[in-house]
Each structure stands twice: as C-alpha cells, then as structure tokens.
C-alpha cells in the first residue's frame, strides 16, 4: 500500500504528542529541551509532507527557517542550562521553585 498524506500526518502528530509528553513528564531540563526539539521536527515533517502533496515548495522553504531558528534556540538554551547547572549544581526541575505564588 502506498504511503499517503494521512500517514505522514499521523506520524508527525504522534511525534508532536511524544515531544509534548516528554516536556511535561521528564524532570531533567536537558531531556525536556530535547523533547522540545522533537516537537519542532514533528512540525517540519508535517510541512514537508504538505508541500509534497500540495506540489508547493513554500513548505520546504519554511523548514529551513525552522531548522536555523531551532539551532539558534538550542545554542542559547544550552548556555543558559549550563549557567544554571553551575549555579545550582543540579539540573532537576523541582528545585527551580524560588519564584512562585
């Protein structure tokens, strides 16, 4: 059976939800960050699938923008997480609760 648009979409939707669950459930900041990247890539997959089936290349073009932006984000994010780790000697999310109520 040939692979249609729906299949790609279901895969990207599942990827998106997995990333979302990762962000909510995992405690380690780095793992959370990775699942965020996962969500972005799910969007990339959906975009590529749409542009393939709609015979329109703007989707592909958008993917490049997303990847570059994700890269910038990762750079800044990791620097931030490292600074936090040096300050708190732990990357767990629970003890990040001095700002509340």
């Amino acid at each position: 059976m040939n692979v249609g648009l729906e299949h790609y979409l279901t895969v990207s939707a599942m990827l998106f939800c997995l990333g979302l669950l990762g962000v909510i459930l995992r405690r380690n900041v780095l793992v959370i960050y990775m699942s965020l990247e996962l969500m972005l890539n799910a969007a990339n997959l959906a975009l590529v699938a749409f542009s393939r089936f709609n015979e329109n290349l703007t989707g592909q073009m958008m993917v490049f923008f997303i990847i570059t932006v994700a890269a910038a984000e990762v750079a800044v994010g990791l620097a931030l997480i490292v600074a936090l780790y040096r300050k708190r000697q732990s990357a767990h999310v629970e003890d990040l609760t001095s700002l509340k109520l």
């Binding site: 979302l20 962000v23 909510i24 459930l25 405690r27 959370i32 999310v93 629970e94 990040l96 609760t97 001095s98 700002l99 509340k100 109520l101």
Partner: protein
C-alpha cells in the same frame, strides 16, 4: 403687582419687625453693654404696644391685608402677608401689652445675671415670632412663625443651660412641640391639596362656596368628590369627604395641642418652669400657649365645615385636659408648678370653648387669662425673688404682712382666676359655661363647674399656705417687698384683672364669629350684671363652685403646718403629685419604639450592610484572589502541563463546541 400698602399695613409691619431688629442688633452689635440691650428690647415692644393701641382705636372693623410674594412655585403660592382684623388686633394688644410689662419686670428680675444680653435677645426674638403668628394671613406663614416660637421658647427655657434640668427641659419642650408641628404641617399640606390655597381669605371663600352649594344631607358635596380624589390620588385614599375634612381639622388641631400643651402633649409645660420666672410668665401664661387657641379661632371656619366631627373631639380633649391639670395642681408644692398646671387647666377651658362652637368666649377668656395669669406669675416671681429663690410654698408663710403690694395684687389675680364676681375671670369663664349650656352639652358643663371648684381649691391652698399663717422658714421671715420696678408692673396688670371682664371685649370679638352668641354691649355698668340675666344657671353654679372650693381649702389649710390632703384622698394625691406618671409612660414608649428601632437600624447598618455585604464581598474577592494565586506553584512541570491543558481547552472549545454548522 403687590397692592399699595395702607398705613395700617405699615404700622403692622413696624410692630412685627421692631423686635426682630432689636434681637439682631443685640446679637451682632452690643458686645459688652448689657443695659443697652434691655432698653432696646423694651423700647421695641413699648413702641409696638403704642402702635397696637393706635391700630385698635382708629382702624375700623374690616380686615386689612398686605401681601409680599414670598414663594410662588407652580400651584404653591405663599405670600409674606399681614392680616389686621379684630381678632389679630386684640391679640396684638395682649401680646405687646403683657409683653411690655414682663420686659420691664425682667429688667429688675434678671439684673444680676451673667448673660443679660442673651436673655433680652431671645425675648425679642420670641416677641417677633409671636407677633408673626398673630399677624400671619396664611397657614404656611403661621407654621414658619410657629416653629420660630418653638425655637425661642427652647432658647429661653434653656437659658441657664449649665443646669442639666434646664437643658433637658428645653430639649423636651422643643421635641414635644415638634410632634405637634408634625401634625400641623401635614394638616397644612392636606388643606393645600384639598382647597388649592393656604391663604385664609381664599380658604374662607372656598369653604363658604362649598357650604352654600352643598345640599346638607350629602355633606360637603360640590367640592366633595374632588377633595377625596385630590387628597390622595391613589385608589385607597378616596375617603368620604367628611372623613377627610375631619382629618384636616384634627391635624391642624394637633399643631395647637403641641403649642398649647393639650392632653397628650402637655408634658413639656410643667418642666418649662426651669426657665426664668418672667419667661414662664410671658411664654407659659400669656402668649405662647395662647397661640394654639388663637390658631383654632383663626381657622374656626375650617373646623366648622358641616360634616366635620373635629369640634367634638376638640371639646372633649379641652375638657379632659382642664380636669387632669386641675387634679395634678392639687398636690404641687412648687409655686410656679401650681401656676403652670393652672395655666394648663385654663387652656383646657379655652379649647373646650372652641370645641363648643364658641370661639368668641374662648378668645375672651384668653384675653382675661393673659392679664391675671401674668399678674400671678410675676407675683410669684417677686415672692421667689424675696425668699431668695425659694419656690416651695411650704417654706413660705406670713408674706401677707411682709409684702403688702405683692399680696393684694396676687389676691386680685387669684380672685380673677377663680371667677369671683366683679373680676375679669368670672365673666369669661361664665361665657364658656353659658356656651356649654346653650350647646346643651351637660357633661362638659358639669365638668367645667367641677374644675372651677378645683381651681378655687388649689389657688386658695396656695394663698393660705404661702401668704397667710406665720413664716415657716428663715428666708420667709426676713422677706421684704420687692423693688419698685418689679411691683409697679403688678399694679398695672391688676387694673385689667379687675375691669377686663365688663369692658365689652367679648362684644368686640363677637363681631368676628357671627351667629353663635348675642354679645352684650350695653355699656360698662349693665355689662357687670349681664351674665346673670343672660344665663343665670351658669353664673349661679359658677359662684357656688367657687364658694364650695374656698370653704374646703379654708378647712384644710388655714394655719396648717403640713399638707393634710393626702390622708383625705389617699392614692389620688400620690398620683397627682407624680403627674399620673405620664412622663415615665412617654419615656417608656419612646424607649420601646424609637430607641429600639434606632438600635436595630444601627445594628443592621453596622453588621448587615457595612459588615456582611461590603466586607463580605471585600473578603470574598480577597480570598478568591489568594486561591487563584496558588495556581502559580513555581514548578516548571506544572506550568508546562497547564500550558498544554490550556491549548487542549482552547482547541476543544473552538472545534467541538462551535460546530461547523455555525
């Protein structure tokens, strides 16, 4: 355009405004000189008296009215109007005449007092307001001066405001008057609503017209239906016209009840004795209390509308007050309290007279009473002045010898009050008793005679205890005659006490109230004997009551060292001395209704409206705020979860709820 003011109008205006000018000048200008204020105030009332005499002598009998438009809004037209007719001219004479005597007398009596200036200022203010009532030509203006009289009596009763009793008495007097005024203003509103005007002349013509056109049986027909509808407008108010007219009469009478201290609202007069004695004389004998009776006579045509039952009610209230006050006077030991209750009793007489369709005799009695009651009060004042402010008659005695001039003037006053033949009191009281007979109201006649007896009894008790016998106390023994400025007015007042009866005053008034009683006006001498051939029963029974009263008093009190009456009548004496506990009754009634209501209102205000509603909402929002704030737990995971939940919620709301059919 206001009509051109006649010379009489100018005179009336000056009489009215002089005391006001004096009071204003005293209040603002004379800082230090006490004397100047006394002269000013006396000068003002003296000039007023002279002008009243002039008015009395030269102007004819027809009414002269001068109007200044005071308030004209929509259908409420109130003018600052002065009405000069026989009734008001007579009252002018009474007020300014007696007032002059008392002003002169109080110059001596109050000479030592610290706030001499404030005394004469308030006295002038009182005279101004009293003259205002007398001269007013419409109900609204009368109400304005009604309240001003109430305030000036408040200032005068509370003159020695350091004394707690005086301050309370002043407050009580003002508030009781205010209860009366409450009824009065409602009466005026109802009259205005029913008859379309507050001016006496217009009211009179409206009433006459209504009366003439109405067939007697349906009562006051022509204006009847509109009266009913007009008065209330809403459905349940369309009362039968007779009920409405009676209501108007009673409400207006309520104003008189407050001012003339009639039965339910009489409690303030005895306490008003806290004021200086000349004040008691002026206000609570001659003028202020008489204002109520004067008002009743002035609006008699309203009360007398066929179908109105107000007059019977008034007659009985008057009679009952007379009886009640006389009984209370039996057991009072303070000389001024006795005279106060006697005033109450005589006022009851006058109101009874009005109730018996006899306003003429009522005004006649008012005039004579003003003269001899003022005399008695001033006499009492001179006694108190002599005994160094001792007011208890059982601490006096033997003053007959010590104070000859006070003694014989006081004796004349007592004789006039009891109604002994040649004196003024006899003629006016007889006219009232005759009216009771003519109106064949036997119970009131018997009551009148009995009260005449009681009056003689307590006055003889006073005279025998205070003046005859021997001195019972230190001050009494050293008492000597008061200075000339105080005793001289007594003599002047003694003249009308003797002659007022026969000089034909009732004839002069009779012209105002046609129809009821044929006035006897055949010259001084036959006037002396007129009552006997007019109605021998009334005169005979009157004299009989006087003799009986005197004998009883003589038996009990000649050379008596203590009051032997309680053994005779036991519990009634105790009741009389404590004034039938009316004060306590009112106190209890007020505390039950007004104070509890106030306490409930305050509690509701503090706890329900300000507490529960306002603080409640305040607290609820604050609590809700604190609760909502807990959503910010601080942990990143809950934030992420809430964020995702928010997204799911938004998607669900928009995609599922707003179905595409939209």
């Amino acid at each position: 355009m206001e009509p051109a003011i006649s010379p009489a109008g100018y005179a009336a205006l000056t009489i009215l405004l002089l005391p006001l000018a004096a009071a204003a000048f005293i209040a603002f200008c004379t800082q230090r000189e006490g004397e100047r204020s006394a002269n000013l105030s006396i000068g003002a009332i003296a000039l007023g008296f002279v002008l009243s005499l002039g008015l009395f002598a030269f102007t004819g009998d027809q009414a002269v009215e001068t109007n200044f438009n005071w308030l004209a809004v929509g259908d409420l037209h109130v003018s600052f109007g002065l009405l000069l007719d026989p009734l008001s001219k007579l009252m002018l004479l009474v007020v300014t005449g007696v007032g002059l005597m008392i002003h002169i007398y109080s110059r001596g009596y109050m000479s030592g007092d610290r706030s001499f200036r404030r005394y004469f200022g308030s006295l002038s203010l009182f005279t101004f307001s009293m003259l205002g009532i007398v001269l007013a030509n419409n109900l609204f203006m009368m109400f304005v001066f009604w309240e001003l009289v109430g305030v000036s009596s408040y200032l005068l009763i509370g003159f020695w405001f350091e004394k707690n009793s005086a301050a309370d008495a002043a407050k009580k007097a003002f508030l009781t008057n205010r209860v009366g005024d409450f009824g009065f203003i409602l009466g005026i509103i109802l009259t205005w609503a029913a008859f379309g005007s507050v001016n006496f002349a217009e009211l009179n013509s409206a009433v006459e017209l209504g009366g003439r056109l109405a067939d007697k049986s349906a009562g006051f027909s022509l204006l009847a239906e509109p009266l009913g509808k007009i008065a209330g407008g809403t459905q349940w108010w369309t009362v039968h016209p007779n009920v409405l007219v009676t209501l108007v009469g009673l409400l207006l009478f309520m104003g008189a009840m407050g001012k003339s201290a009639q039965f339910p609202l009489h409690v303030w007069l005895p306490d008003a004795m806290e004021g200086p004695t000349p004040v008691s004389a002026l206000i609570h004998a001659a003028t202020m209390v008489a204002a109520g009776v004067f008002m009743l006579c002035r609006i008699f045509f309203l009360l007398n509308i066929p179908g109105s039952h107000a007059l019977e009610f008034i007659a009985w209230i008057g009679g009952f007050t007379a009886l009640l006050a006389a009984v209370m006077a039996l057991q009072q030991n303070d000389i001024k309290r006795i005279l106060a209750y006697s005033t109450l009793s005589q006022l009851g007489y006058m109101v009874m007279a009005v109730g018996l369709h006899a306003p003429g005799p009522a005004m006649f009695h008012l005039t004579t009473h003003a003269a001899f009651k003022a005399l008695l009060f001033l006499g009492a004042g001179s006694v108190i002045y002599a005994c160094h402010h001792e007011q208890n008659i059982w601490k006096m005695g033997g003053l007959r010898v010590a104070m000859p001039r006070t003694w014989w003037t006081f004796r004349w006053g007592t004789l006039a009050l009891c109604g002994v033949w040649p004196f003024a009191g006899f003629f006016s009281k007889d006219a009232i008793l005759a009216a009771a007979l003519e109106h064949n109201n036997i119970p009131l006649f018997v009551l009148g005679v009995f009260v005449a007896g009681l009056t003689t009894f307590y006055m003889s008790r006073l005279v025998l205890v205070a003046f005859c016998g021997n001195a019972r106390s230190e001050e009494a023994s050293h008492a000597h005659e008061s200075p000339g400025v105080m005793t001289w007015p007594l003599v002047v007042l003694a003249v009308p006490t003797l002659l007022a009866g026969a000089v034909g005053i009732d004839a002069y008034i009779g012209k105002l109230f046609p129809g009821e009683h044929p006035p006897h006006n055949e010259g001084f001498l036959n006037n002396l004997f007129a009552p006997f051939n007019h109605n021998v029963f009334a005169a005979g029974f009157g004299l009989l009551a006087v003799v009986a009263g005197y004998q009883l008093a003589r038996a009990l009190y000649v050379n008596a060292d203590r009051d032997r009456l309680p053994e005779k009548i036991g519990v009634l004496a105790k009741l009389a001395r404590d004034r039938f506990y009316f004060d306590e009754l009112y106190e209890w009634f007020i505390s039950v209704t007004q104070e509890t209501l106030a306490r409930v209102a305050d509690w509701v205000d503090r706890w329900i409206i300000a507490g529960f509603l306002v603080r409640g909402t305040h607290g609820a929002t604050e609590l809700f705020g604190r609760a909502l704030r807990l959503v910010q737990t601080g942990s990143l995971q809950t934030y992420a979860f809430l964020f995702a939940a928010g997204v799911v919620l938004v998607l669900a709301w928009q995609l599922l709820l707003q179905s595409p059919a939209h």
